[in-house]
Amino acid sequence: MSNKPLAPRDQGAPDYTKLLHPLMAKNYGAWESHDRLRPGVLVHTAKSGDKLYSVRAGSPRTMSADTVRKVCDIADKYCQGFLRFTSRSNVEFLCGDKNDLDGLVNAVENSLGWPLGGTGPSVSNISHTQGWLHCNLPGSDAAGSVKALMDELIDEFKNETLPNRVHISSSCCQINCASHGDIAIIVQHHHPPRINHANMQICELPKVVAICPAAAIRPAVVNGMETVEVVNEKCMYCGACHGQCPSMEIRDSETDTLSIWVGGKVSNARTPPTFMKLAVWGLPNNPPRWPEVGEAVRRILSAYKESAKPWERVGEWIDRIGWQRFFEKTGFPFTRYHIDDGPEALSNLNRSAMVRL
């Protein structure tokens, strides 16, 4: 252990110029075009004529130090020691020599055991949160449910046979750290928080009151102790207070469920970015493999695959065919809970006489 005193050094972001593959450094800002050679393998051609091959594989995101070293061994052998990750936790091995490509693909698929894919019109790796492995708020797991779901969807990851790319996200509480996706899975709570009045002294009460989006929390005195109370009729079970104060327990292992949301999109291509919308609710939180979630996601994907036009993202497809057809095709029940009563409530109604009959 070093005896040097700790002190802030404010070093900032790593110097990426030292972490670029030599062909990236040489052709920085001078790329000409790209092609997909096969699912999981991209080639980028520079104006100089240089070609850089990227072999994309799905990673489990959570890795032991030994697995990181195995990844490095492969990159040392075939990639001059350089690689990158994508925003969806895929690893991209960067290879400057076409002759190394077969060996690289073989090493990734067989010795590392990671599937190639996630390029073009496919299901990419699932962005996900921390879950029971290491978060303080989760109502479900993330890494495990993602593993189980990707087992189901592996063919859609390894092939490019969907109308357009599909981004899936999986969040283990209603704070929803994994955010929007073409298809998104979220935990939902169904009761107001259970307040541990004896342990409220560990929390800043004004902050607990202020954080409630429904203004349902107010100061109270219980057994002579300063604490808060919740107006149950106002509470919408979001769990914001639980994030602020662990004594406001929102989770319930018996009653928490999962819901699936569709049509989120960040890209500006064709149509502006969109939020995701509720597709189906009340799925059981069913470890270790969450089969009901897998079944529902497959249903959405197969309806999308069958009836979307090329380049339509899930949300664009539903916009064209209408929600009535979406619920018909997926077989999910349309319920009064699908009708918005949040901030977008009125603008989410069909404010026209345009109806499919």
């Binding site: 252990m1 040097k4 005193p5 700790l6 002190a7 070093q11 900032g12 972001a13 790593p14 110097d15 990426y16 972490l19 990236m24 800002g29 790329w31 980028h44 799905g58 489990p60 995101r61 959570t62 890795m63 130090a65 030994d66 990181v68 990844v71 490095c72 990159a75 040392d76 990158r84 925003s87 690893v91 055991g113 599937p115 492995l133 290491h134 978060c135 303080n136 109502g139 495990g144 593993k147 592996i154 929803n176 750290c177 994994a178 955010s179 929007h180 202020a210 954080i211 989006p213 662990p246 292992s253 960040v266 291509a269 064709r270 149509t271 970015p273 939020f275 270790p288 090329p310 380049w311």
Partner: protein, 426 residues
């Protein structure tokens, strides 16, 4: 030696987690199970995770621990089951600022793996939802030593709390022909310039930047950052008519019409024989036609960025999408970067002076109105900032409210001129 390095071996009891070993997708559980033979503390982690699976319950609580001089970057976790799993009594995450574009040399990755293994449980995640590398499983002393080792090896720790958060960007010009500006350089520049605000939370709430080289937005900035910076261009896009003809020969004219011409959001494309006509004045730089015909079409040459503001996920006022704040800004020279930095400072100053505790900037704009916000940060209104003008007629026109009788107060001082209601006393 910290506790997390000296934990005694513990037998794995994981019947439910074992179900995650089958199937074709790589299993984090199989990896950690194997690794637990080398790192006994990982067995404790997996046994606790098994209890979570069995009881559908979570056993982690938070606490606060900081490296001296820092106000964030270590996400502390303590287990409620530490009587059974003593190694998990303190089992923290260290966030590390990732290289812009998530590019690595194996030397740098091995260094992270060694540091994680030497000081803690040796579990790494690539990457967290805010872009950082996450290193898991350090006790208090191990966390501090890990941070110290990271510093010595040239890394820095990431943001947490009401601070500028770790930035993330797409691969940009390092490997993409569509990138309209240098996302990596800009990411490093903003990070390094404002590193103080990343390490020492002093904002009203968190503030995230994400940077994408074009409207395809591979950094997910639109919905997931307070300030997306997205590459774009002025003037005509580049069209190689010979390659347009090749595209038509290869794919057929119907494919072009069905998938390019009719999909343009502003209907600014037309096909004439085997060439493409573009109404560049009406193009909104959505990238779709370029995505489909990427050999024939390219972004224009006069490039820059569009800066947006205010995106965040649903708490507390519902989802907010980012909206345009600066329709176009050049971002090539050092002077351009200086201008960006002073613009960000203006935005932060107005938000932090007037925002409420725990109020993201999108929520702040929702509360005070974009008109007020623009005046506060010194920007002129521009029709490119809106989808359509207002529909509500109740407006406080400052210009149209002359005094009607002596002593009537016609002007509320605008919020940006108002005296602070409470003066801080020493």
């Amino acid at each position: 030696m910290s506790v997390n390095q000296t934990s005694q071996a513990m037998e794995l009891h994981t019947p439910m987690l074992n179900e995650l070993e089958s199937g074709p997708w790589p299993s984090f559980f199989s990896d950690l199970k194997e690794y637990s033979k080398k790192k006994p503390i990982v067995a404790q982690l997996l046994n606790q995770l098994e209890e979570s699976y069995e009881n559908r319950w979570n056993y982690w609580l938070g606490k606060i621990i900081n490296a001296p001089g820092y106000g964030g970057g270590i996400i502390a976790r303590v287990s409620e089951l530490s009587h059974k799993y003593p190694g998990l009594a303190n089992f923290h995450t260290v966030r590390v600022i990732e290289p812009p574009g998530w590019v690595y040399s194996t030397e740098s990755l091995r260094n992270l793996a060694d540091t994680a293994e030497r000081n803690g449980a040796g579990i790494l995640q690539f990457h967290g939802m805010s872009g950082d590398v996450l290193l898991l499983g350090f006790d208090d002393a191990g966390s501090l030593q890990c941070v110290e080792d990271l510093m010595n090896d040239g890394w820095d720790i990431g943001g947490s709390g009401a601070a500028m958060r770790t930035l993330q960007c797409c691969v940009g010009q390092a490997r993409c022909e569509m990138a309209c500006y240098d996302t990596m350089k800009t990411t490093k520049h903003i990070t390094d310039t404002f590193i103080h605000y990343l390490h020492r939370p002093e904002f009203v709430y968190k503030f995230k930047f994400k940077l994408s080289g074009c409207g395809n937005d591979c950094a997910n900035s639109m919905l997931r950052s307070d300030m997306p910076i997205i590459g774009t261009w002025r003037g005509p896009m580049q069209v190689d008519q010979a390659k347009v003809a090749e595209f038509i020969d290869e794919k057929g004219i119907e494919y072009l019409i069905d998938n390019v011409i009719t999909r343009c959001p502003t209907r600014c494309l037309a096909v004439r024989g085997k060439s493409l006509e573009v109404d560049n004045d009406n193009c909104v730089r959505c990238m779709h036609c370029i995505n489909v015909m990427h050999h024939a079409l390219k972004p224009g040459l006069d490039r820059g960025v569009t800066i947006l503001v205010g995106g965040h996920r649903t708490l507390k006022i519902g989802d907010t999408l980012s909206s345009v704040l600066v329709p176009f800004m050049k971002l090539e020279t050092d002077e351009d970067l200086d201008e960006l930095i002073s613009f960000i400072e203006r935005v932060w100053e107005f938000w932090n002076d007037n925002g409420m505790d725990h109020e993201r900037i999108g929520e702040f704009i929702h509360r005070v109105g974009m008109g007020t916000f623009l005046k506060g940060v010194g920007l002129e209104p521009d029709p490119r900032m809106i989808r359509q003008p207002r529909t509500t007629p109740y407006i406080k026109f400052e210009e149209l409210a002359p005094t009607r009788f002596e002593g009537e107060q016609t002007k509320m001082p605008p919020v940006w001129n108002r005296e602070a209601e409470a003066v801080e006393t020493a």
